[in-house]
């Protein structure tokens, strides 16, 4: 590696505070994750399930990384219980979805995290088991990084992955190590999601093959600079997670300080530039994702900072 000394790392207190504030905001706005009866009836459940799945994933990260204080831990547990019991109706929403769309992997993708955390929906598991016997399950057309997500969900749910993981990685954009100067908005998300699924959301950074880790180490700073300049906090947050999955995370203080400064007083992270204005539920739709990512990035970075301290 022919580079100068690495950038200064952000202090753990700063890294931790971002997530603590973001989690507080999410907890205070948890009602807005709710699926309405109309949504359940009208087939727009897919869209609303994604945030719930992400909420569960990121609460799992908080538990796993062990960096939550007791108050944060209580909040996260309460949010998870709320998501399972209130939002998913104890899993019924997922089981209904599987019945409506029997060969879709979406319900399994959401369920896998809850199952690892001890929530069970046996009827859903039985339905998924039947669908997995079909060739369709393995051949559904989807983006290569999404395919990794399905394989990871299978792995999490204790099922044999329906395809070879390494082969699936090699079909992603990142797996081919293309020209780094072509990375625009959509490609950047393809990269972050490949890393998330490959590492099971940061649990196993060593699953990143060495040549991909070297590639990311080399070019991630340039991409972070790019999206920092654009004040795209959603994408920057995801790239900050990727940084924590590398063998030597930078936890770059200058970037983290600007990321933290973008957070609203109440703890929400805007998607880009400043906080949107308007109806609370519209604002929630705009900022819940970057705010969840802020919890994720904070938990991972705090954990790495404490490991290296």
């Amino acid at each position: 590696m022919t580079t100068a000394a690495v950038a200064a790392a952000a202090p753990p207190a700063l890294l931790h505070a971002v997530g603590d504030r973001a989690l507080t905001w999410l907890d205070n706005h948890r009602e807005f994750f709710r699926l309405t009866a109309e949504e359940r009836a009208s087939g727009t459940v897919f869209e609303r399930l994604k945030p719930i799945g992400e909420l569960a994933l990121i609460m799992q990260v908080l538990f796993r990384e062990g960096v939550a204080g007791s108050r944060q831990h209580t909040r996260a547990s309460r949010l998870l219980d709320f998501a399972w019991r209130e939002l998913l109706d104890g899993g019924t929403v997922l089981t209904e979805l599987q019945r409506d769309e029997p060969v879709s992997p979406v319900a399994l993708e959401v369920y896998a995290t809850f199952r690892q955390l001890g929530y069970r929906a046996p009827a859903l598991e039985a339905a998924v088991e039947v669908s997995r016997r079909t060739t369709t399950w393995k051949t559904l057309e989807m983006m290569p990084n999404r395919r990794l997500g399905v394989l990871n969900a299978e792995r999490k749910a204790g099922l044999a992955p329906s395809e070879d993981f390494d082969g699936a990685v090699s079909r992603t954009w990142l797996g081919r190590l293309p020209e780094p100067w072509t990375v625009q908005y959509n490609i950047a998300y393809d990269i972050t999601h490949t890393v998330f699924h490959l590492t099971n959301w940061g649990e196993a950074p060593d699953r990143i093959p060495p040549e991909i880790a070297s590639y990311l180490t080399l070019y991630l700073p340039a991409w972070m600079e790019d999206w920092l300049d654009a004040e795209n906090w959603d994408l920057l947050g995801e790239l900050l997670v990727v940084d924590t999955c590398l063998p030597h995370p930078t936890l770059d203080a200058r970037i983290w300080e600007r990321y933290a400064a973008a957070q609203s007083d109440a703890g929400a992270m805007p998607a880009q530039r400043g906080m949107p204005e308007g109806d609370t539920s519209d604002v929630f739709d705009d900022v819940h994702h970057p705010t969840l990512i802020a919890v994720f990035a904070s938990a991972m970075a705090t954990s790495r900072a404490l490991q290296s301290a």
């Binding site: 022919t2 100068a4 020209e179 990375v183 340039a222």
Partner: protein
């Protein structure tokens, strides 16, 4: 004609010469010594105004008129005590190139080239990558065979950082900076193969929409170092 247009004209002349088209190059023809903007244009382009002389079949032998126009520029802009490091390095590069490629006469006080000034080099090892990339791109005219060997050695230890700078410059659509960095990377060993430098240089030229200074860096990378072809 504004300075930017004069600079673009000279850069176009250099590009044509390096590509091997048209009449043999003579600096004093693309930039006559009575052009009041000649010294300023040479200050901007630095050693690149002499680039075709490094490929002897692309130019006429350099003559007294060419020497005069460069001397005027060197006399007009000697770096002062507060000059930026980039200015000093650029000035040095022009003196080094003049010594190598123009007639001069070390035995004749009027025709000897100025002494090369000392140029600060600490930044080459200590600058964080964005700043390093910015400065290196401004010094791209020194990515020229035989020029500034110390600078090239220093930058050879920072190729990963220059590669980051190239990525960043392309993303920002700063084609001149990208081309300058690509030209340095073409000169240096151990450039990361994943950068895709060859297709990158061609891409930058295509996207720059005919910018003559961008074209100059790209053609220099190709003619001097065989990259971006």
């Amino acid at each position: 004609m504004p300075l930017s247009a004069v600079v673009a004209d000279v850069a176009t002349g250099v590009v044509l010469a390096l590509r091997g088209g048209g009449d043999p190059y003579a600096l004093s023809r693309v930039l006559p010594q009575d052009d009041p903007l000649a010294p300023a244009a040479i200050r901007v382009l630095g050693a690149d105004v002499l680039a075709p002389y490094a490929l002897d079949h692309r130019s006429a032998p350099a003559g007294a008129d060419d020497e005069t126009v460069v001397r005027q520029a060197l006399a007009a802009y000697p770096p002062g005590p507060d000059a930026s490091e980039v200015s000093v390095w650029t000035y040095r590069g022009l003196i080094e190139a003049s010594r190598a490629l123009l007639p001069g006469d070390p035995g004749d006080a009027d025709r000897a080239w100025p002494q090369v000034p000392r140029a600060g080099a600490a930044w080459i090892t200590t600058d964080p990558w964005p700043k390093l990339a910015f400065r290196a791109s401004q010094l791209a005219a020194l990515a020229f065979p035989g020029l500034a060997p110390d600078l090239a050695d220093g930058l050879a230890a920072r190729t990963d950082d220059l590669a980051r700078g190239f990525v960043r410059a392309v993303r920002r659509r700063d084609w001149l900076q990208a081309a300058g960095l690509g030209r340095w990377l073409a000169r240096l060993p151990h450039v990361p193969p994943t950068l895709g430098l060859d297709s990158g240089l061609v891409f930058v030229q295509q996207m720059s929409d005919g910018d003559a200074r961008v074209a100059l860096h790209v053609v220099a990378a190709r003619q001097f170092y065989g990259r971006g072809g």
